[in-house]
């Protein structure tokens, strides 16, 4: 990776980083803070950019770590997480059409994903939403490709199982 420009290579990753932070912290404001911290941290390490294999993976790794830190701090604040995860939080779905399309069931799936252990959830997010390869996910999470596959398998099975259970009810 040569000649990485902050404005054209790193700043455009903001939404991807934001989605990841959002999945982990499940709070919009906190996620935005995390992305901001991530960006500044990456800027501070700009002398390392040239040596990186993938700046994107680097950014995502930092973002995930900061999100986890944030999550821990939030937990310490004895703040009920469920207050933050407002399942009917439409602050982002300002588009009325989208809001209409979203039905109870899809909200359920979302809820299920959010209830997964963080590692499974992040693997699933990176794979299914961001379309990352097993290898990229392994780099970002610093685990083996095999572990990534197992995590994704478990995550999908868990969602499917829970979903089927809910549908039967």
């Amino acid at each position: 990776m040569k000649n990485i420009s902050f404005q054209s290579d790193i700043l455009p990753l903001k939404n991807e980083l934001f989605r990841m932070a959002l999945r982990i912290t499940q709070n919009r404001e906190e996620a935005e803070d995390v992305v901001q911290e991530t960006m500044l941290k990456i800027w501070d390490r700009r002398d390392q950019w040239a040596q990186l294999e993938s700046i994107e993976a680097f950014c995502l790794t930092i973002c995930r770590n900061l999100s986890l830190d944030k999550l821990r701090r939030m937990d310490n604040q004895v703040q009920s997480l469920s207050d933050d995860i407002d399942p009917t939080d439409h602050s982002h779905g300002a588009n009325p059409e989208q809001v209409a399309i979203r039905n109870e069931r899809s909200e359920m799936v979302r809820q299920m994903i959010n209830e997964l252990p963080e590692r499974l959830r992040t693997c699933m997010q990176l794979r299914d939403i961001e379309g990352k390869s097993y290898r990229d996910i392994a780099t970002i999470l610093d685990i083996t490709e095999q572990q990534v596959k197992v995590n994704i398998f478990r995550a999908r099975q868990a969602v499917r199982e829970k979903y089927l259970k809910n549908v039967e009810c």
């Binding site: 700043l11 934001f18 989605r19 500044l40 779905g93 979203r102 069931r105 899809s106 799936v109 499917r160």
Partner: protein, 193 residues
């Protein structure tokens, strides 16, 4: 654009699958999607197949019985992005950092630039001094022969006299009294030999 991609793939799908073509093309698409979903649950799908699913679920019209699966592939947060204010804030934070001495790279550059500009600023002065020195030197050099020349014929005669007196006797013998200058001497001298 995504929809176009999606509508392209059933064409290849027709060749791959044994199922006979039915009037309701959509049904078939959904069959294929269902198959993909089955493999998806078992984590057997490739990235390409998952991107087909992603494309499929990002369409507006999907069957109601599949609607609930949408959040698996399409983050509703897609519409939820960080705005330009965020960019501005980040860039400002970074710009502010550049201005502070914290960033040693840029401060080094400033010092370096100042050094260069100092030399460059003095350069015209050096040039002027050099020009003056050259003029003085040349002027002095020109002045010397000018001083020893004559302004009136009498002066010239006096100089000539002095020159002739300084000539060593052997050479002086060859001088005729009418010789006006040394070139003349050479010219009158040569035919003799």
């Amino acid at each position: 654009m995504r929809n176009e991609i999606f509508f392209d793939f059933p064409v290849t799908f027709l060749f791959n699958k044994r199922q006979p073509y039915r009037d309701n093309k959509k049904d078939m698409d959904y069959k294929y999607i269902e198959q993909l979903m089955e493999r998806y649950w078992n984590a057997e799908t490739s990235l390409e197949e998952e991107s087909i699913l992603r494309t499929f679920f990002s369409q507006k019209d999907i069957p109601a019985e599949m609607e609930h699966l949408r959040p698996l592939f399409v983050d509703e947060a897609v519409g939820e992005t960080l705005d330009d204010d965020f960019d501005a804030r980040i860039l400002q934070a970074i710009g502010a950092e550049i201005a502070t001495p914290h960033s040693d790279h840029s401060s080094e550059n400033v010092v370096k630039a100042r050094e260069v500009s100092l030399t460059q600023r003095l350069m015209p002065l050096f040039k002027a001094a050099a020009v003056v020195a050259i003029i003085l030197t040349l002027g002095g050099a020109l002045q010397a022969p000018w001083d020893s020349t004559w302004n009136t014929p009498d002066d010239y005669a006096a100089i000539q006299q002095a020159d002739t007196m300084n000539v060593i006797p052997v050479q002086a013998e060859n001088f005729s009294t009418t010789t006006s200058d040394s070139i003349g001497v050479m010219q009158t001298d040569q035919p003799k030999n």
